[in-house]
């Protein structure tokens, strides 16, 4: 047990990195994903097609590859080429990637809302943005909670990919100790940390679902 306390320091530091990547990605990817979803369903075929291609690209290649590309290859791309440090590189890759998945969840949610809701709002004089903000999106939230819960839990675990940029997230910190001390205990502790984080998310989403259960459709 004393050993567990001894290794707690570096593991908590790794957890802090993991939580940072998770929270920043979530805060940026959700609004970005919503914008993508709205463009994807817009009447402008060119925009919709571009977003479609973007989603294909982001879902069709490994997140790890995207991260490596942004860190190592982006500096050499003409015009947009910039050199980003490791942490921003990881964040950019995660946001771009997760926004694509969120966009598809939002799109499915928006398109599942009955046309009558739009007509009901329209005959009351509401504009399209008003209808989206006040009528459609609040109903979408309820419907997308289960897939969003899935996706955010996956995000917690995907943060471990940042080890390829030599960043010390929870898993890499644990592995470092394993290799130093020749014991697998750090892995067990790391697993417990991941489980605690995902438990918090699971409970959070369950609370949200309960909150939205006040109305049926």
């Amino acid at each position: 047990m004393n050993y567990v306390f001894d290794i707690m320091g570096p593991l908590l530091e790794g957890t802090a990195v993991t939580i940072q990547v998770f929270l920043i990605t979530l805060v940026l990817a959700v609004p970005f994903g919503l914008c993508l979803a709205l463009l994807r369903i817009s009447r402008f075929k060119v925009l919709s097609g571009l977003v479609n291609g973007y989603i294909w690209l982001m879902r069709g290649t490994p997140l790890m590859l995207q991260m490596l590309f942004i860190y190592f290859a982006l500096p050499f791309v003409p015009v947009i080429g910039i050199r980003l440090p490791d942490f921003p590189s990881a964040i950019v890759a995660f946001v771009l990637n997760y926004a694509a998945y969120f966009a598809e969840i939002f799109r499915a949610g928006i398109q599942s809302i009955d046309r009558g809701q739009y007509e009901g709002a329209r005959v009351l004089g509401m504009t399209y943005p008003q209808t989206m903000r006040r009528i459609v999106l609040p109903q979408v939230i309820k419907r997308i909670l289960p897939p969003m819960s899935n996706e955010t839990i996956t995000l917690v675990k995907d943060t471990s990919l940042i080890y390829v940029l030599a960043m010390n997230d929870l898993l890499r910190a644990a592995r470092g100790i394993v290799q130093r001390d020749f014991t697998t205990t750090p892995f067990v502790v790391a697993a417990a940390f991941y489980l605690i984080m995902t438990l918090v998310l699971t409970l959070g989403f369950q609370r949200l679902e309960k909150k939205y259960a006040v109305y049926d459709e």
Binding site: R122, V123, L124, G125, R134, K142
Partner: protein, 258 residues
């Protein structure tokens, strides 16, 4: 609410509407005067609902002209091309009309009271305190004040439709459009909705009602319009039309219905 205007509240002239190659409206013309209650009857697929939906721009017409309270919504030029007015004007003109749908289209995530005050707040920018007393008065009028904090899913069909009527009235329309308001209801629930509509008619609301309720058309409507095949075949005071339908198709339809 509205100033006296010369001419009809609704003026539709030679309205054509196609869905693909299917011609749903083949030149429908209708004027509705202030305070008139006009029932539109006819077989399914006759274009009644489509015509109603064209009046408040839920459907775009392919040819013809529509004026609401003397203001032009859409015209057609000499080349047969339709011109709608600008979007803000469309919203303002259509804002003179309230609409009640067959399937209610209440907002399920909002309570009854929130359903009624939503548009006055977001569209007219009224403060909550300013609109709530009025919304409560409307709910009392349709007999649902005790349901003000219930969600729509807890209401019966008839109650939903009465909330939908209150919601439309909260925007203070000059004209009310009803698109088969009782068709989705169990028979024993149609009475309460028709009663609310009758009260509205007695307050001299201008109403256009697409309906299969012949009793309502006969007793409440001042005029009945019979549509079939995308055309108006007969438009006469309701008593006359029911007593002596002129067109053979009207006669056949009424014999089937009664």
């Amino acid at each position: 609410m509205m100033n006296d205007i010369a001419g009809p509240m609704v003026h539709a002239q030679d309205v054509h509407k196609r869905f693909g190659s299917l011609e749903v409206l083949k030149g429908v013309s209708l004027d509705i005067e202030k305070g008139e209650v006009v029932a539109v009857i006819g077989p399914s697929g006759s274009g009644k609902s489509t015509f109603l939906r064209c009046l408040n721009h839920l459907e775009k017409i392919n040819r013809g002209r529509i004026d609401i309270e003397g203001e032009t919504l859409v015209t057609t030029d000499a080349h047969g091309v339709c011109h709608y007015v600008a979007d803000p004007d469309i919203r303002r003109i259509c804002g003179k009309m309230g609409m009640v749908f067959q399937h209610f289209n209440l907002f399920p995530h909002l309570t009854v009271l929130q359903n009624v005050i939503e548009a006055p707040m977001t569209v007219k920018g009224l403060a909550r305190d300013a609109i709530v007393p009025k919304a409560e008065a409307l709910l009392r009028k349709v007999g649902l004040l005790d349901k003000r904090d219930a969600y729509p899913s807890r209401l019966s069909g008839g109650q939903k439709q009465r909330v939908a009527i209150a919601r439309a009235l909260a925007m203070e329309p000059d004209i009310m459009l009803f698109d088969e308001p009782t068709s989705a209801l169990d028979p024993e629930l149609t009475g309460e909705v028709l009663r609310t509509m009758r009260e509205l008619a007695e307050e001299h609301m201008t109403m256009l009602v697409v309906t299969h309720e012949m009793a309502f058309a006969r007793e409440v409507a001042s005029r009945v319009v019979f549509m079939d095949g995308g055309e108006i075949l007969e438009s006469r005071p309701s008593r006359e039309l029911f007593a002596s339908p002129e067109h053979p198709r009207t006669r056949a339809f009424l014999e089937n219905m009664l």
